[in-house]
């Protein structure tokens, strides 16, 4: 089966006043359809830059990639039609109603008016947002907001959903609810999920496979079980120990500051 994401030497350098910074030196990555992939790395490893490239927000300066069947470098419009992206900050206007944001989002993906309304109602029913449709986004709780953000990324039935630190700032109960939701999205729709997280317990519990990046390259990949066995010496070790062995650092930092262009 063709992988949903395939990159070869995907790289990004930034030119700053002090010279050239290699944020991503060359990422080789293959993500099969229907996988939940956890993308980990310490602060400054190139996680965010890679995510921004894969979601067409940042043009790569080297390498090649296919995302959802489209060439990332030459057909970013094609990639955009087939991917969903949920940023850490979400992306809804607090003053706008849930219904309007969902409908507008569907229209941005070129659904006609009737289809967009139907899709908004369908997603709201599915993601437990039905009672909130006519509330402004600002009135939603943290967990509700995250469900809305994810619904926004699903309006067009994407092949792959990119989630940037989806549970940051949520209370433990909402985090677990969100894990269930993410699994359900994959199980019900077969959507591939590419998520970054700085919670190693989350990566352990949620992801089918983990990719660890450091210094702009992939430094380890495999199931949590395999990484623990290989790097921490036992499948019963903590993922934290494996992560320290791989990167020499304690935990993935909460958020990576993207380098300004």
């Amino acid at each position: 089966m063709t992988p949903v994401i395939h990159t070869t030497g995907l790289a990004r350098t930034f030119t700053t006043k002090r010279g050239t910074v290699e944020a991503v030196r060359g990422i080789d990555l293959t993500v099969p359809a229907g996988e939940i992939l956890g993308f980990l790395g310490p602060n400054g490893a190139g996680k965010t830059t890679t995510l921004r490239m894969l979601t067409t927000l940042l043009a790569p300066t080297g390498g090649s990639a296919t995302v959802a069947g489209h060439d990332l470098l030459h057909d970013s419009a094609g990639v955009r039609r087939r991917i969903g992206y949920v940023a850490q900050s979400g992306g809804v206007d607090p003053a706008v109603s849930v219904r309007e944001e969902l409908t507008t989002q569907a229209r941005l993906y070129r659904l006609d008016k009737a289809d967009a309304r139907a899709r908004a109602a369908e997603l709201a029913a599915d993601l437990d947002l039905l009672d909130l449709l006519d509330r402004p986004c600002a009135a939603l709780s943290g967990g509700q907001r995250r469900r809305l953000d994810i619904a926004m990324g699903l309006v067009h039935h994407p092949d792959v959903l990119f989630l940037d630190e989806p549970t940051t700032g949520l209370d433990p109960g909402s985090r677990v609810d969100l894990w269930h939701l993410i699994r359900r999205i994959r199980d019900e729709w077969g959507t591939t999920v590419f998520l970054t997280t700085h919670y190693l317990d989350e990566a352990d519990a949620l992801a089918d496979r983990l990719v660890v990046v450091d210094h702009g390259r992939v430094v380890a990949q495999g199931t949590a079980h395999a990484l623990k066995t290989e790097y921490a010496g036992s499948p019963n070790a903590s993922l934290q120990d494996a992560f320290i062995a791989i990167t020499g650092r304690r935990t993935p930092a909460p958020s990576e500051t993207p380098i300004a262009v």
């Binding site: 067409t56 979400g90 659904l111």
Partner: protein, 277 residues
């Protein structure tokens, strides 16, 4: 509810449900529908927020009411009376102080991630700019009508055609100033960076365009500098139109206005298109 292109929700455990491929619309059809989608979104926001409608018009209204009467018997060196000189200037000032701050909205949206969320969708990059600019034009025209109506109450008399031409200039000027404002807002990170730039450009541009008093009163050196300011020609053109003279001055205004629109929109689109902006 269910149409051929909206698959119903599958049950748990089904294999991946692939919706039928949606035909990709032609670029121009997509541009038009995307532009109206963006236009509608921001028009609804402006109408429901109300504050934006009041914000830009207060300053020109204050000038009209508190400064206009001072000019009644002052020789201004132009055709027509003082109101026919002042109100066209205030229409341009409205553009400078309202359209030039249009980018403020995008700064707030950037903080909420709205701009990035839209940039990941297939929406036309040009439409992201044009839809917003179109909304600014509508907003500015509403404000212009208010300004002219208040002007008439204070004693302005001008031919209808001339006033309509004046509104046309307001629309063109809004298209250019708002595009530049959005381009700037996309490049800076905070209102603290944005506002000083706009203010430091706006004031000299306003003074050098003869908005309050015509540049015919200026000494040679000042008049010379102001000829490098495209808005000067638009102020002159609107004044000319307000006294019923639709000749060369209006033509020169149209040329400079269109030139400024072309440069500004091209610049704006480039910024919106740039990945990572």
């Amino acid at each position: 509810m269910s149409t051929s292109s909206t698959p119903s929700t599958p049950t748990i455990g089904t294999a991946r449900v692939v919706p039928p491929a949606r035909p990709v619309p032609s670029a121009s059809a997509a541009l038009v529908s995307d532009t109206f989608l963006i236009f509608g979104r921001y028009l609804r926001q402006t109408v429901s927020a109300k504050i934006g409608l009041i914000f830009g018009i207060i300053q020109p209204l204050l000038f009209l009411i508190l400064f206009g009467p001072l000019l009644r018997d002052v020789p201004l060196g132009g055709d027509g009376d003082s109101w026919q000189t002042l109100v066209p200037g205030l229409l341009v000032q409205l553009g400078l102080f309202s359209a030039a701050f249009a980018g403020f909205g995008i700064l707030i949206e950037k903080q909420h991630g709205v701009v990035e969320r839209m940039r990941v969708t297939p929406v036309s990059r040009l439409a992201l700019l044009l839809g917003r600019v179109l909304k600014d034009i509508v907003q500015m025209l509403v404000q212009s009508v208010v300004l002219v109506v208040v002007g008439v109450a204070f004693g302005l008399r001008a031919p209808l055609l001339g006033v309509l031409i004046g509104f046309g200039f307001v629309a063109l000027m809004t298209a250019s100033l708002a595009s530049l404002s959005y381009a700037l807002a996309m490049r800076v990170d905070s209102p603290q960076e944005f506002a000083p730039v706009v203010n430091s450009v706006n004031l000299p541009v306003m003074l050098l365009s003869g908005i309050l008093l015509p540049m015919s009163l200026a000494p040679g050196w000042l008049d010379g500098i102001s000829r490098g300011n495209p808005l000067r020609y638009q102020v002159q053109a609107v004044r000319s139109a307000f006294v019923g003279d639709y000749g060369g001055t209006v033509g020169m205004g149209v040329l400079t206005a269109l030139g400024l629109v072309a440069v500004s929109v091209v610049l704006g689109v480039r910024v919106f298109r740039r990945a990572g902006a």
